[in-house]
Amino acid sequence: MSRRVPGVTYKRIDRTAMDALLYALLKSLDYMGEQRRVILDRMGSVMLQYLVETGTVRSPDRPSEFDQSLKRLLIKNGYSPSIPMQSKAVAGAPSSLNLVEILTPTDRHLDGGAFPKSSVSREKEKVDWVLYEMVLYGMTKALDDQLGVQAQLILDRIGTGMLDYLLELGAIERSDDPKILIQSVIDYFVKAGYAKSFQFELEGAPPDTFVSRYESARYYTTVFRRIQKEGSALLSCPLCLVGHSIWATQGWKFGDIFEVRIKSDGKVLMKAKVFPSIGRFTEKDALRFSHMKV
């Protein structure tokens, strides 16, 4: 299956994609109650650090310039110009919101977790890609530092949350047929400006390898490459996470990514293990282990 849209620029992405990510991120941590804030603050700090390191905003060593550049970025992208508290450069500022909360759709703040039924798709509104990758990098890095690879469970839950959000908004059409639903997800992300194209195929008989091919996939050239260099095994590609949640309903799980080729123009080839989710350690396996001498 494939989808191509010529002439897509990848400096901006649909705001709906950003909203879905933020909504799902907050929802995935809801179960932690008040302790959620600790994780969100860590994510917020890494996000700000990412903006500084990529030269998107000025260094906090120059507080007023940092303040101004961050405000400009937020205003340009249609967000409230509140400055997050965790920045030492702005200590004492009136806002007590975390950067994640500042960017999250307003109705999410108000309803405390309920679905944004009153929301409308904001596909025509765009945000800078750097903000989207800032959220992806910040959440992935903070989760990896805190929890290691088991944080993939939280990321997978974020995938389910994004799907729910996009379905509820009508950005993705509902279907009981997983193939149709997956194609709708691919179409949505390509149209939103996530990648120029995406194709996948299953290899093996029975299938045991999932092969993904992207063109102009900015997530991989920036976020994924960086977190891999930093030793993380986490995958936070939003299209993958949403896809995984659909495949999971069909009894499939995704395993280790054992081959990745990323070119600087954003062409990506990725191979991951895929297998049925049940029966991975049977009675027979248990019996064999119990007979092993120690």
Partner: protein, 184 residues
């Protein structure tokens, strides 16, 4: 109460306790460190089954926190490397099958005679790639094996919705269930 104190309170009267430790994500690292110190100080040399963070990362963290260097051997199924053995670690390769982990664990328990306890970090990681029934069966098998050679152990589980099924089953196999990590 710290995780270490909580374990001590419930496990000190048991000679070879098998502890199920469930920690809040916010204090996961502190919880693991506290539990490790308890087991290390009480029993001595340990076998650390790491499924979640590479052995090299853990070694650095433990050393920094004052755990005696050389007091652990590792079975590592997270570092992205071909299977190989060093003095202190058996690298199994990233995210191997549960049966492969079982075999490697049995071999290490057999070879490393000085090992006095086993620490599994973490059961939650297994949930990424396996169904809860398989994970529970795997953990049950490991616990049975440990009991057969009278080795105490700790199994770590991070507080997440995904582990609830496994938690209910594992709690029955373990001597002690400790829920740790309320934010101070």
């Amino acid at each position: 109460m710290s995780v270490r104190e909580l374990i001590d309170k419930q496990a000190s009267s048991i000679e070879k306790p098998v502890v199920l430790l469930r920690v809040n994500p916010v204090v996961y690292q502190e919880g693991v460190m506290g539990a490790m110190k308890y087991f290390s100080e009480r029993f001595g040399m340990g076998l650390y089954v790491t499924l979640n963070k590479p052995c090299a990362v853990l070694q650095g963290a433990f050393e920094k926190d004052g755990l005696t260097p050389g007091s652990l051997v590792y079975l590592d199924s997270i570092t992205n490397t071909p299977e190989r053995r060093t003095e202190s670690c058996h690298y199994l390769g990233r995210m191997r099958e549960l049966t492969d982990i079982c075999i490697a664990l049995a071999n290490m328990m057999s070879e490393e005679k000085e090992v006095k306890f086993v620490f599994v970090d973490s059961v939650s990681t297994l949930m990424i790639y396996n169904d809860s029934k398989s994970v529970a069966r795997f953990c049950h098998s490991v616990i049975e094996k440990l009991r057969s050679v009278s080795l105490p152990a700790a199994l770590v589980l991070v507080e997440m919705e995904e582990g609830n099924d496994v938690l209910a089953q594992l709690a029955q196999f373990c001597d002690v269930y400790v829920k740790g990590g309320e934010l101070k």
